[in-house]
Symmetry: C2
Subunit: 336 residues, 2 copies
């Protein structure tokens, strides 16, 4: 098992990436193909006493420029550390890819370098987030700002396969994010997607309202990339703002400071429930090799967890299962 890791993706690269990769080699027994400037990688490893055992370096001095359009990845930026990681997976030199770099560029690389699974209209980005009763996936969280009903249907199928294989969820409950629970609710996109999801070989449980999403009432929340991105960021934003306000409240008087001391441990475990780094990265689903987008601000633990996700995806042959799933709905369509 070899995972290609973009050593120069993310706010804390290359240090956090190297540390995370080191942890992954040691704890998970995977081997790593680092892409990026060999000298800088070696210097950073030496300075920080990071062992590069179990890692190979694919050298390039170029790093994807976040100020260019994502599509530049396959044009002016095709020799960047991100593009090379994608290419390694496409060519069979790696079993999966991990990067904390530009989301848009990762989608472009996955789609045009690794390429789509036959029948997949558009690859999409899923993210698993914490909920009161269970974790759940939101998909798509930003790969496709504009969606057609068939795309939402495929997101449902792909998230179901992912959740079964990687998260170990039996018979995942897939729901459509909508402005009401009745099947007559929503815009044209939702009305048509509802019908298609109902006909799909998944456990479709109908519409879910945004109000109920945080409770964890289903395993996947299916939506277009625009709404999904808003949903994910608002989820993060409200939880973060509220936690900050609670912290300020605890620090406001002597009484509340004592309260904070008493509740510290429990508050901490509540806060860690909303800690994304423990959950890992966002899978790009619908392409021929597993691609995990780690959060831009990933620390070493987050990188390690993203590598673990990538390894599980590769091990359980999730892309092959997804290809089978796609072939099934296609042959069903053809019979009609």
């Amino acid at each position: 098992m070899r995972i290609a890791v973009d050593a120069f993706g993310g706010d804390n690269a290359p240090l956090a990436v190297l540390k995370g990769a080191e942890m992954a080699v040691r704890e998970l027994g995977v081997s790593i193909l680092l892409t990026g400037d060999e000298q800088k990688i070696k210097e950073c490893a030496e300075e920080n006493k990071i062992s590069l055992e179990g890692m190979e370096i694919l050298h390039t001095e170029e790093v994807f420029d976040m100020h260019t359009a994502p599509t530049e990845l396959i044009k002016s930026q095709k020799n960047t550390s991100l593009a090379l990681a994608m290419k390694a997976a496409a060519d069979g030199d790696a079993d999966a890819v991990v990067s904390a770099g530009s989301t848009g560029a990762i989608i472009v690389g996955a789609t045009f370098i690794i390429k789509r699974i036959k029948g997949v209209k558009r690859p999409a980005l899923g993210t698993v987030v914490p909920g009161k009763n269970r974790r759940f996936m939101i998909m798509d969280v930003g790969a496709n700002a504009e969606c057609r009903p068939e795309m939402l249907q495929q997101f449902g199928i792909m998230s179901s396969v992912y959740l079964k294989n990687v998260e170990g969820v039996e018979n995942p409950e897939i729901a459509l994010l909508n402005i009401g629970t009745e099947d007559t609710k929503g815009d044209t996109l939702r009305l048509e997607a509802y019908k298609l999801l109902q006909e799909s070989p998944i456990n479709f449980v109908g519409n879910v309202e945004a109000r109920d999403v945080p409770k964890g009432v289903c395993d996947a929340v299916i939506t277009d990339g625009f709404t999904g991105n808003i949903t994910l960021k608002l989820y993060e934003g409200v939880a973060g703002t509220l936690m900050k306000m609670i912290k300020e409240m605890f620090m406001s008087t002597l009484k509340t400071k004592i309260a904070a001391l008493l509740a510290k441990k429990k508050m901490y475990s509540l806060k860690s429930m909303f800690d994304y780094s423990a959950i890992g990265g966002a899978p790009v689903l619908g392409v021929k090799k597993p691609v995990i987008k780690a959060h831009g601000s990933s620390n070493a633990v987050a990188i390690k967890n993203a590598i673990r996700q990538a390894a599980i995806c590769a091990e359980t042959k999730i892309c092959e299962t997804m290809a089978d799933g796609m072939a099934q709905i296609q042959s069903a369509d053809e019979k009609e």
Copy 2:
């Protein structure tokens, strides 16, 4: 000043409505036109020792059936308490309308009974919600699941007029909800709406990301009714779920129970910041008379606050100001 109040709208009607109306008469000095079953209203008032002074009753036994389509309000349901309240405002028998009934039916009534302001493409529903640094309005929160760019432009103008007149915000900062802050971000709808908002006679401050929304970084968040509805409900949902989890955390051990006692007062004020009933109802903007949709689960205080909002809207002649605003952008369009 006379406000038409649908006595049979909402989960707690007519009791909460009558109590709220009584408070409004006493505290705000407005007079109320109650629509609904006269006998039931009088019985409920007597049983609960509610004074009907300052109120007149417009009798009808019919109540809008929540299971019919909203458009039925102007067909089979045109003699319901909701439709009569709308008609009273349309005919000049009342200066504004308040109802805690069906959102869809209220939009239909506002649009087709009270009628649109000249130039307004679609009336929309705004809601003011709490943020860390300031309250802000989200608009549209559900009147229009499908929107065109010109509609988002008008939502920006209408929310600006409302915030100035009713909330007393000087030079309101109007932002477009989007998946990035750069003006190149978003779907076609956002890209075009951005340009139109920029050309509008308002203080347009650009795109706002969902992550920053809870901080209260602007006075109005402009979006389509689908996304707005998701945003509002998720906002409520995440805050509610998190508060519930914190409460459970506080109740979990002896130590945390003591902490809860110490932090009680401060926690309560934090919680009340997220209490919608204090803020009031959602205005339907773009129609010829002020219409306030109170939350379905409104208690008496929420009803009173919705009546206050309606009274301020009528007093400050917000609909007239909005008509002037619309005439301005229209004449600007014609000159081009």
